[in-house]
Subunit: 292 residues, 4 copies
């Protein structure tokens, strides 16, 4: 609380509405904000379609300014009622909020750039803030925790895949690229691109081997990739299964150590007897409480 | 039983044949209905092939009316012998039954539309009703229960994928779309479509990056997608493994050890006798019963 | 042994060499047979390449006859020394052995057909017999047992996928097929083929949606398919994990019930105490013994 | 130590810097070596792009010689200060080190070959040596151990897939290849290539069936492949889950319960104290030690 400023009653009320979602007005605000964000992003999408832009250019232009003005006012109020305005401005969401309105103003100075349109799409990230308090975030926590725990394994795996596609791509360049000038494998980077397209089973077909030896090599790569794809899946599956196990909130009443196995009868830290699982502990409520 | 009407002996007999499958006549009826459904859908398929339709148009037309008359009679009998006719008509299967016959009659009023043909394909959904009582439905229950329990995790995952493809698609539009007029990334929605085609490893190749930077970005997306595909698989695997384990909450009355096997008679921890699974020893029948 | 005939010493010796692999001569025969099978199939492959066939037609023709004569002699000896000649001839491998030689003789009567070439490829199935006794077959047993146990779940899953692709294909036919005559979605079966290509993430790109609505629908299908692919993987993973658990050969010394859990202390059938796991029971040997 | 030669102080110091990474100088050397390797491989990549090579051929040529001279000096020092020079030269990394510099010298004798360029890419394998001591190698050990344990199952699976694609490819050659001369299924090997492209869900689309029967067959193959892809994933998942569990065979000396967690101090079944993990409490260091 030290560097936080004192809010006036108006600021406090606005803060409550904009930054929190536990009041009816706050929820209404969130819903309206969500609608505005989705509508503005949809406008960006439609504007990027040449035929629609040619026809409704004026409408899109007007809508874009309406959204920008709305978001600018919202941004100003957020600064006005934030506990620490500077910290808000430099925070992740503060930067996203600024990026949401900046391109439209800049387009007055510089001729209409597509870069601006794409930056406007980043408004979608603001949706995260709105959904922040919903309970499905808990599920996201479990997934990201599992991914986080397996990040080293996945890094090793990706490193291995990267090395493989570089070596495979280089060899395919040797096999396919030496032929006539019309070969699609005309450089090592392009051959590596092909190797990635193939090993991930995307298979565009914009580049594909034409020689017999090349097709034979490609077949080997595919079958190898077929077995390799099992690795990340296995890693994440194993983590998620263990995540489920590790979430078990059995606490030793003697030494307070958490996370005992389902069938454990004694604490594996102090040896004291654990309380029997009595079927009726409402798992979700206990967890919701911890989270609060 | 309150609002159910009293059935005459004929109605009761028809009800038994049409709505139930435990009599020999009922089973014969089911098989014939299945044959008619599959034959009528096959006719719709063949009719949609221009070359076949040109040659056998009369035959298909005749067959379609035969199937429609058959299904109309069946529909009439179903209403006639249903315990609550109105409830049947407004039920899911009642609507499907009506949709199965309506298009043919409507084609008399309006010129032959393809919409009608497609609605006729919905007859396939009626197959579900016939298979309803078969024991493999129990397996479907396990799968759908696992999916249901993991629906929040899958929703979070899909939400994350959706956001990713929108941001990726927008950036690819920026990278690839700015070039000459011939680019395939000519609007943000189309670029998002490309991102979805790529991240799901479908990879049609109808749109594919041509610039060096675009191909580099695409390679990153593919490798990311390669690791990401592990997430839903891990989620469902974990649920299915737990489904198998959690499906049987037998507890030893002597030492409170949980999770005994279906056919266990004694606790595998303390050796004490377990309580017999009461009510329905035959697990499958028990399920069929519960379902009724 | 009742209907088996008495073998002469020569027959017995041949039987030992050809049908069994535990003697040095038997193993040598197996290796030679393997070489002949692979060589003959390679010849079929090379013969099917037009450019090679044009150049080396005589050589391929000669080789084919050499292989056929060899396999004919082998077939004759197998009949000669089999315990029950008739049973051998009508067995799976007996039919495969006959199919391996028949096409070449038939080609004398009928002009060279490609059908014959393909039937010759079935010689590869004979390789199974040679590998029959190798210990990696045990691994195949575990996999096929897991697949067998999950066959109902996979059937339900495939049934659901099939229904989905039919309904999706029909709708795409409606959306894409109604346009100008050049549409690739020109019949329902072809649209279903597209739906299968898409939902399995194969994505040839020979047929791909061109309208905006069609691409939107396709994107939905892909994302759905992305989540759906997790189901069979989860099913098989769960079964394989349980297979590993179920393979546990702990036997109750009191009632001989097999397959107790790792941490079980008492038999879950009779309640008697189980023997402690003493770390040193060589798992493989025990199993090899049972198998013998 | 028997056949190892005695190093002079200079040799010992160089050995410490080049072969080990626990000194500050050693780590600086590693980083510089990494930079040189990545820079040299990037040069190879860029050199392979025709347009860049045409413009900067002289620069690439000069850079290549700089890298080669650097790696040659490094190679010479490695031989100079190795404990057993001959053993180093014939070791895996010794051969890779030699292959890293040889192509450039050979290009003086023979005209500039692309083969040399590709061999230079193998320099990337040297990166493995630098990362050798990093702690994420432990994760790689777990993955490769799981893959090693499941190698037999994966071999059986690949053998089955190989047999399937050969039989499927041959049948597709029969179905699709018999038509007019323009068919893409013009030989059995090419049809098998198609079958591999399809069953692994890569789906280039360079070869795709055009007849109705062919598309029907292809649809069956895809759906089969959809279910089949679950098998390797299930195998690896099961192994990784068991790896996690089996990696720690701690047994309680009081009640013989196995599989206690790494940080457990007491048995979670009887509460008795567990034996401390002797020798190396720090698990990672213990591993690094074993590796040495």
């Amino acid at each position: 609380m030290k560097s936080e400023r004192r809010l006036s009653p108006l600021q406090a009320k606005l803060y409550h509405i904009i930054f929190e979602a536990d009041s009816s007005t706050g929820r209404t605000f969130d819903i309206w904000l969500l609608v505005m964000i989705l509508a503005s992003v949809t406008t960006v999408f439609l504007e990027s379609i040449p035929s629609l832009d040619a026809q409704y250019h004026e409408l899109f232009y007007a809508l874009e300014w309406i959204f920008t003005v709305f978001f600018t006012i919202e941004y100003a109020i957020r600064i006005y009622c934030a506990l620490r305005p500077l910290k808000y401005i430099t925070s992740f969401y503060g930067v996203i909020d600024l990026l949401s309105i900046l391109p439209t103003y800049l387009s007055l100075l510089f001729a209409g750039s597509q870069v601006g349109a794409v930056i406007r799409v980043l408004r979608l990230l603001r949706v995260f803030r709105i959904f922040k308090l919903h309970n499905f975030l808990y599920q996201g926590d479990i997934i990201s925790a599992a991914l986080l725990r397996s990040r080293q394994k996945i890094a090793v795996f990706l490193y291995f895949v990267l090395l493989s596609v570089i070596v495979i791509g280089s060899f395919m360049y040797l096999i396919e690229g030496r032929g006539a000038g019309a070969s699609q494998f005309d450089s090592i980077p392009r051959s590596i691109y092909w190797a990635i397209v193939t090993i991930t089973t995307v298979g565009y077909g914009d580049i594909s081997p034409t020689t017999n030896l090349g097709q034979f090599m490609a077949a080997l790569v595919m079958i190898a990739g077929y077995a390799i794809i099992a690795v990340p899946t296995g890693i994440v599956s194993a983590e998620l299964i263990n995540a489920k196990r590790g979430v078990n909130p059995r606490v030793c009443p003697h030494c307070m150590k958490e996370g005992h196995e389902d069938d454990a009868r004694c604490c594996n830290m102090c040896g004291g007897e654990l309380v029997r699982k009595d079927g009726s502990d409402d798992f979700k409520e206990g967890l919701a409480f911890r989270r609060h």
